[in-house]
């Protein structure tokens, strides 16, 4: 019977470390560069809106008058277009996945006005 030909490999699996993890008790460490979610360092942001134009899923909304930068994590497809387009390098891809939420909401950041602080 052919099914016994894989027997060695299958039998050996009984004594090896399991391939799977006991999630959520065990979690896999995130490798460097994992595409989790977009973070913005608001202190560097100049609200130019280039990231919003580059975004293929219209997830980013920049309001210059209100001085807010907002991202909808439920629309974001983690392509990294905004990170590459940002002229001030204030956007970055964080390796942690978007946290689980009970309702859809946007992450809104208030960008400080450099003139006001000066």
């Amino acid at each position: 019977m052919g099914s016994f030909k894989l027997g060695g490999m299958t039998f050996g699996s009984l004594f090896k470390k399991p391939e799977t993890l006991l999630y959520p008790l065990e979690t896999k460490p995130a490798p460097a560069g994992l595409k989790g979610h977009i973070v913005n360092d608001a202190s560097l942001c100049i609200l130019c809106g280039i990231c919003a134009k580059a975004c293929p899923s219209d997830a980013i909304v920049v309001e210059k008058k209100e001085r807010t930068w907002a991202i909808d994590p439920f629309r974001c497809v983690q392509c990294g277009s905004c990170v590459r387009a940002c002229p001030k390098a204030c956007l970055a891809m964080d390796s942690a996945y978007t946290p689980i939420a009970t309702a859809q909401s946007c992450t809104v950041l208030e960008v400080p006005d450099p003139k006001a602080s000066a």
Partner: protein, 362 residues
């Protein structure tokens, strides 16, 4: 012969995750006619090319199919690059092909697991998917994504693979090859597998040619057609590339061709990793495709030849994007293979053709 009866197969069926519906006309236990029907997952993705610019559409193109995502992004990017006369750096071409061949390994391993599951070989299903996980881990480490990689852009790629990561890819593939060879030898020499596959769903070479079949389905009918043998991009730098063919034209031949293609892909990755040149990984692409400019491109996806066509209109949004997928080519062959088979063999024949309906409908 008894009275003809129509038995519906799908669109929801345990053996096939894809929504394909077949009306099987059955007399006694023999299938005498097959009427396929698709249209359950049409998303109108080609139309979206009018609403997104050519840089943004690549993320839609790679969502056409979860398994051939890398292939679709490469196929689309190459088409737009040829539309705009962009020459991609050599290193980027190599990196694209390395990821594309890795996705072929993962696609074939996924298929092999599903096929083993279809004929009741549960432990092989587990082993195949265990090995596939190693490829997905490589994707995660080198691109940051497991299925949707988003690593190809018009003009090159967005990430490089450094020497350490390349060495890790090679060592993982070497380990995978050892385990995979044991699985493959079991599958190809196993009596119960042969009983289910040998002589089932036969397609002759003439039929394969006249029905314009592509991919492993055609190559299993002794039709040596493989787009990779055209030598485009990094494939041209391979020392030797011969499409894997089989002469039998039955389910066993299709299993054999796909099994051997995994080993072939591993060898291609190892050769390209050894030859990869240093240099840039992208070039800046500016401007828009000219009004009326047209370009077409072919790419060997895991399931066969995929054809891309694009037309510009002078703006950043393309006028038209058309993709002809391998499964739409192979559906006609599938109905021919099904005619005259036993009802119990329908699952096996459909799986060895490996239809991807999400690709076909887009």
């Amino acid at each position: 012969m008894g009275k003809a009866t129509v038995i519906p197969f799908g669109p929801q069926h345990p053996v096939l995750p894809e929504p394909l519906h077949l009306d099987l006309v059955v007399q006694d236990e023999t299938v005498v006619d097959v009427l396929p029907q698709i249209g359950f997952v049409h998303r109108g993705l080609e139309k979206l090319v009018e609403t997104r610019d050519y840089n943004q559409f690549i993320y839609i193109a790679e969502r056409i199919c979860g398994i051939c995502a890398t292939g679709h992004s490469i196929g689309y990017a190459e088409t737009v690059e040829s539309l705009m006369g962009v020459e991609v750096p050599k290193r980027a071409e190599y990196l694209r092909i390395i990821w594309h061949e890795l996705s072929r390994v993962h696609s074939h391993l996924l298929w092999l697991g599903l096929a083993a599951d279809a004929f009741g070989f549960e432990s092989m299903f587990m082993h195949c998917w265990r090995l596939r996980e190693r490829v997905l881990d490589l994707f995660e480490k080198t691109t940051g994504g497991r299925v949707i990689l988003s690593v190809v852009k018009v003009g090159g790629v967005v990430r490089d693979i450094d020497a350490t990561q390349m060495a890790e890819i090679i060592s993982v593939l070497d380990g995978l090859k050892d385990d995979y060879t044991k699985i493959m030898n079991t599958l190809l020499t196993d009596t119960s597998v042969k009983n289910r596959t040998v002589g089932v769903g036969h397609i002759s070479t003439e039929d394969a040619r006249s029905l314009s079949m592509v991919g492993p389905f055609a190559r299993a009918s002794n039709l040596p057609y493989d787009v990779r043998s055209f030598g485009k991009g990094a494939y041209g730098d391979l020392a030797d590339f011969q499409p894997i063919v089989a002469t039998e034209g039955d389910c066993y031949a299709r299993v054999k061709v796909r099994c051997l293609e995994v080993l072939q892909s591993i060898e291609i990755i190892k050769e390209l990793a050894a030859k990869i040149p240093a240099g840039d990984i992208e070039v800046a692409v500016k401007g828009a495709p000219a009004d009326g400019a047209q370009a077409s491109n072919v790419l060997e996806q895991p399931r066969g030849e995929c054809y891309y066509y694009a037309r510009g209109n002078g703006s950043k949004n393309l006028e038209r994007m058309r993709i002809r997928t391998p499964t739409s080519q192979n559906l006609a062959g599938m109905t021919v293979a099904l005619k005259g088979c036993d009802l119990a063999d329908v699952n096996m024949i459909i799986l060895t053709i490996d239809p991807c309906i999400s690709c076909t409908e887009r």
